[in-house]
């Protein structure tokens, strides 16, 4: 027989940090192969990074009135990057052909959106649901009236003049909002017990998922007008947006469906057993849980959507990339600074996508209630 005569105390866990040398040894130089690869990688980095920094920062020309300041006397380019191309044409890259005198309107809309959104990030904000609803339902109309104009004495600005980063952001935000909405409805439809709803959802999803986005955009701008009665005009931007929304909602639907299927049957049963109707149990019990599960997949889709907006250049809309590539690229005053433009566009896209990715990670952590199904 054995009976313990004391309760053992809790001790701190042993420390794993054994200093830099130890870390290097275990992670970079543990064996001949890894040592070789470490040295090789170090050499490649040494060859690539310093020149890149030199080009982008040290030798760069940041501001200039003309492209001449980015060139040597004999007309060749200087070694460093010519960011002056970007800074000089910054307004056009941001707004496209939107008239300069009216640019306060999109600015105001943007500032309003940011100011309205900030309170949502604070726990203590009262009536958050109402504020969120206002942003999703009312604000788009305000933004449309501001940017499009034609009401309240605001000069109407044709959507053909919208462009640059502004257009990219408008298409993306509208696209994400509606793709999420339609996608969720489609996902619910695909899991519906009603055969007609289910079949329609399946056909819709499989059709739009099976068509390349480029085709959708071509169809919307070239084919659609052929089917419409003669004389009807339908805004080009609106057509492109509808195409993008239908296309992306099919992807969102499949992501959301994955989340719906991951929720245990017991959750559906518990909600039903309490007398919650189908829609109430979906919106109060099932979707909040499944949306949380599919945040990584949704963000993936949204990032793809954001980058896919660049395809609108093929139907003659000038988003951020199209402005840099097609408009400024053929601008005689700044010929030959194509690379800087592309690097800048890539950087802007990366910045937004990375921001979205980081935000989604923070959101996942915040929504984690410590439950693993």
């Amino acid at each position: 027989m054995y009976v313990t005569d004391k309760i053992l105390p809790e001790l701190p866990a042993p420390s794993n940090s054994k200093g830099l040398i130890h870390w290097l040894k275990t992670n970079l130089f543990n064996g001949p192969f890894n040592t070789l690869f470490t040295l090789l990688a170090a050499y490649v980095l040494y060859k690539v990074i310093p020149p890149a920094i030199e080009w982008a920062f040290i030798d760069a020309t940041w501001f200039a009135e003309t492209s001449g300041e980015c060139k040597l006397e004999n007309g060749d380019r200087k070694d460093g990057a010519c960011w002056a191309f970007i800074t000089n044409r910054f307004d056009q890259i941001m707004y496209g052909f939107y008239p300069e005198a009216e640019r306060w309107r999109p600015n105001l809309a943007g500032i309003m959106l940011v100011l309205l959104t900030i309170p949502l990030f604070f726990e203590k904000t009262p009536k958050k649901a109402w504020l969120g609803g206002f942003i999703l339902v009312i604000f788009p109309f305000i933004a449309f009236v501001l940017i499009r104009g034609g009401y309240f004495g605001l000069e109407a600005i044709d959507t053909g003049k919208w462009g640059g980063l502004m257009l990219t952001l408008i298409i993306s935000l509208v696209g994400i909002l509606f793709a999420l909405l339609f996608g969720t409805i489609l996902a619910l439809g695909r899991r519906s017990s009603m055969p007609i709803v289910k079949s329609l959802s399946v056909v819709f999803i499989e059709f739009w998922r099976g068509v390349p986005l480029i085709t959708v955009l071509f169809m919307s701008s070239v084919m659609l007008p052929l089917f419409l009665p003669e004389g009807t005009t339908f805004d080009k931007l609106a057509r492109a947006m509808i195409g993008i929304i239908l296309f992306q909602s099919a992807y969102v639907a499949e992501v959301v469906r994955g989340g719906l299927q991951a929720i245990p049957k017991g959750q559906y049963e518990a909600a039903a057993a309490m007398g919650l109707s189908y829609w109430k149990s979906m919106f109060l019990v099932i979707l909040p849980q499944s949306m949380k599960l599919v945040i990584p997949g949704l963000v993936n889709t949204f990032i793809a959507l954001f980058k896919d907006t660049t395809l609108v250049l093929i139907i003659g809309l000038f988003d951020l990339l199209a402005i840099i590539e097609n408009v400024l690229g053929s601008d005689n005053a700044w010929l030959g600074f194509h690379t800087e433009g592309l690097v800048f566009a890539a950087f802007v896209f990366w910045l937004f996508c990375f921001g979205l990715s980081r935000y989604s990670m923070a959101l996942e952590r915040k929504l984690d209630t410590g439950h693993r199904n």
Binding site: Q267, L284, Q289, T369
Partner: protein, 256 residues
């Protein structure tokens, strides 16, 4: 809303099952189930696994559909009509083997969800009721935690409180202690015994806890292979089981 189905309108019965049959595909899972439950009666259903006992109570609130026969709850035959079901389910609470709390909501929100959204009770009032029931199941201090932070026994007690918040006339328990660690079973049974002893509520409980059956049941029903084999008051049922199948079952579970 009008209910056109023919109903044996006997007010004193909370639940009537009349020749109820159910199949899973070709498998005849419930055979001619007949059961009348009086208002306020406490019934324990037991039997080996696969005998259909859970299916019976899941048919009563139409989580499962029966194919033949009638189910009459509170004088109204279940037709599967969506609106009827939503109304009926507010009167019939259910506790599940795996609790099925909503993991994304705090305990308090779990309890107030249905009262607020189904019964349209103001939030403050729903929260007061919720706290009252949390106190009854002895965990008011956990109100702001999430289900994932509670032990199994605590979760099941929350699930019971959640059902009670809807003020149901009938409570269905589907093996409420089967998924619990042994040392947590009694805390849940205590709550259930207290509830049963208060009276007034019709209770149907599928369980293997024979001590609970002896203490509170008005009737014990033994099922095997989809049919009711034996039905008696607990004393007779445990001391003087009639059918061989019941005797075998009781010898297998009580001797341990």
């Amino acid at each position: 809303m009008a209910n056109n189905a023919q109903v044996n309108n006997n007010e004193e019965y909370a639940i009537q099952l009349i020749n109820m049959n159910k199949w899973y595909g070709d498998f005849h899972v419930l055979k001619d189930i007949n059961l009348n439950v009086k208002e306020g009666e406490r019934i324990v259903i037991c039997g080996p696994s696969g005998s259909g006992k859970s299916t019976v109570i899941r048919c009563i609130n139409h989580l499962e559909e029966h194919q033949k026969g009638q189910i009459i709850v509170n004088g109204e035959e279940i037709t599967g009509d969506v609106k009827q079901l939503e109304r009926l389910r507010t009167d019939v609470g259910m506790c599940f083997q795996h609790f099925n709390l909503f993991p994304h909501l705090s305990i308090l929100d779990n309890l107030t969800l249905a009262p607020i959204w189904v019964k349209k009770i103001p939030k403050a009032e729903a929260e007061a009721t919720a706290m009252k029931y949390l106190e009854r199941v002895k965990i008011p201090d956990q109100a702001l935690k999430y289900p994932g932070q509670l032990s199994g026994g605590q979760q099941q007690r929350v699930a019971i409180a959640r059902s009670l918040c809807m003020d149901p006339k009938i409570m269905l328990f589907d093996e409420p202690t089967s998924a619990l660690d042994p040392e947590m079973i009694s805390e849940v049974l205590d709550v259930m015994i207290e509830l049963a002893n208060e009276g007034g509520m019709t209770m149907l409980c599928v369980t293997h806890e024979m001590g609970f059956a002896k203490k509170v049941a008005d009737r014990v029903i033994f099922m095997d292979a989809g049919q009711i084999i034996e039905e008696n008051n607990p004393e007779e049922f445990f001391n003087n089981p009639q059918s061989e199948r019941t005797q075998l079952f009781l010898s297998q579970i009580i001797d341990h």
